[in-house]
Amino acid sequence: MKIVALGCDKSGYPALLKWGEKNASPFEEVKLFSLPCLGLLTEEAIFRTLENSDALLLAGCPLDSCHNQNGSRGAYLKVKKVNALLQEAAIPKKVAVAFVTADKIGEIEKVSQELFWGEKNDNS
């Protein structure tokens, strides 16, 4: 499974790098990108990123301590919408978002495992 991981430059990206260093990724390939804030993602951007990958992992600040107040919330709304559309169209791709701080990567590990194992793991 090849994924793209995007993180905001305040929290998500540093956390993704830490996660990378730990070698805990279950994926075959992870392409990493940073962006100023998850808030600037559009649905269109998410779909286009998915064209070249099996899944998309977003990492941003925790909802209540986003550097741009509502950036993470905005991304969360869009992820929900995109996942609903993907499911409706029966496209087996998924977007997940992890809310992290720069030095706490537990959430990325959890979300990436869920992304990797899919729904099966959700029920077990």
Partner: protein, 460 residues
């Protein structure tokens, strides 16, 4: 010849043979400098690239650098070293080449990084407490008294009507509600053994508390740093000097701060017992002889019920700051909610998330004024021209107005157009990503810009 500057951590990453090759093949004159070295004139270069730990180069930092170097912010590009270092050296140079080519292919947006410094005056709403007034005076910050003004945002400043004054900051001093941390019965009060911190401060000089039991009650909300310090100090003195038995019952201990932590440790080492207690489970009644107060509580640590006969119960009031409604003061539909400081550790303290508006909390006036002084004198660096609304595409749905967390979007009432106030914009991109008409462009920060510079391995 295109002049490029690379600021690097490690000059060995870009060897001479590669530089020569680039000059011959591409016509790029590349200069390499250590990231820490002084470059005299940044304006001479067509692009400035930064290579090396890109982590520390957040958007804000780049704006600041552009300002210091006096260059167009879109000239500065951070090469995402972390994203490509695994391919070093195989495809590294081809990615680097591609990165430079892509960056040069994009026309530079006409951006300017500017320092925005607010007017050195504040308005206090509804009115300054004595401590706040004093603190502002000490720092030489002029205060405007105009309790019935209407405010209108003008860039970073606020314009006041009808006085015509301009202020750089508004300090809201919200009303507070003072209640005892536990509701004590009148019998408890009749013992005259329920006292406040001031009483203890006075009595400690005259009276010997030898062998007595004293309980301090400190609620979670509204205890100032000074009161914490005073409690640590008094309890230590009573324990050491008078060998009194001291209990400090708290809902949460505040030891954030060097001094506090030190005082707290010292108090503990003198035998003061700190106990975390849920105040709702605390019960107090007079002792049978009415000479003391019997306090019953459950400790949070081991859930044990304890009963202590105290000779004195020192109780600090709980201060609750009530929300303050700003709407009546603003000539705008953007300030609609009642404000309180956001509990967001990433925003500056005392900030309700609106640039230039600060909330004054009791006991924190000095710290607040320090924050304000810094804001008013140093201002902020912002980028002019980065976010633009395409008036032709805009359908005036006002989504941007509602989504902007920094309230940077305004409507020009006369022209009925939306406009982004660059002085307030933090470049988060939320407005652009939610605009249904794709009318907002954040130059250099669009999808193509952040994804394509180096997609690993070159494929897209």
């Amino acid at each position: 010849m295109t002049k490029l500057l690379w600021l690097v951590d490690n000059p060995l990453l870009l060897p001479d043979f590669w530089l020569e090759k680039m000059e011959k093949e591409k016509g790029w004159k590349i200069e390499i400098r250590d990231r820490e070295s002084k470059v005299l004139n940044f304006i001479d270069y067509d692009r400035i690239f930064i290579l090396g730990d890109s982590l520390s180069f957040t958007r804000e930092r780049l704006s600041l650098l552009a300002y210091e170097w006096k260059v167009n912010p879109s000239k500065i590009q951070v090469f995402p070293w972390e994203e490509v270092k695994i391919v070093f050296p195989q495809s590294f140079f081809s990615i680097l080449e591609q990165f430079i080519a892509q960056s040069l292919a994009k026309p530079l947006a006409p951006l300017v990084a500017e320092r925005v410094v607010p007017e050195n005056k504040v308005l206090v709403l509804p009115q300054a407490s004595q401590t706040l007034d004093q603190a502002l005076k000490e720092k030489g910050i002029e205060t405007v008294v105009a309790p019935s003004s209407t405010l209108r945002r003008e860039g970073i400043n606020f314009h006041l009507f009808p006085s015509g004054d301009t202020v750089g900051a508004v300090v809201v001093s919200p009303p507070e509600e003072i209640t005892p941390p536990v509701s004590f019965s009148s019998e408890v009060e009749d013992t005259r053994k329920l006292v406040d911190l001031k009483f203890m401060e006075k009595e400690i000089e005259k009276k010997d508390f030898r062998g007595e039991t004293i309980i301090f009650l400190l609620p979670k909300r509204g205890v100032t740093e000074k009161e914490w310090l005073q409690t640590f100090y008094l309890s230590r003195l009573l324990a050491k000097r008078d060998r009194a038995e001291i209990f400090v019952l708290v809902e949460e201990v505040l030891v954030a701060g060097e001094n506090l932590e030190k005082e707290y440790r010292q108090a503990r080492s003198c035998g003061v017992i700190f106990e975390k207690v849920t105040f709702s489970s605390l019960f107090a009644q007079p002792t049978l002889d009415m000479r003391g107060i019997e306090v019953e509580f459950t400790t949070e640590r081991d859930r044990l019920k304890r009963k202590i006969k105290a000779d004195w119960l020192v109780s600090l009031p709980e201060r609750n700051v009530l929300p303050f409604d700003l709407a009546p003061f603003f000539d705008s539909d953007r300030i609609e909610e009642a404000i309180l400081p956001l509990a967001n550790p990433n925003l500056s303290s005392f900030s309700p998330g609106i640039e230039g508006i600060f909330v004054s909390l009791p006991g924190e006036e000095k710290n607040l004024v320090q924050v304000i002084e810094k804001y008013l004198t140093q201002g902020i660096v912002r980028e002019r021209g980065r976010v633009e609304v395409n008036e032709e595409k805009c359908i005036l749905c006002l989504t941007c107005l509602r989504t902007c967390p920094w309230r940077a979007v305004a409507i020009e009432k006369e022209r009925k157009k939306t406009r982004v106030n660059w002085e307030l914009c933090h470049l988060c991109g939320l407005c652009a990503s939610f605009c249904p008409a794709h009318a907002i462009e954040i130059k250099g920060l669009s999808f193509e810009d952040w994804l394509s510079p180096v997609s690993l391995g070159g494929e897209k």
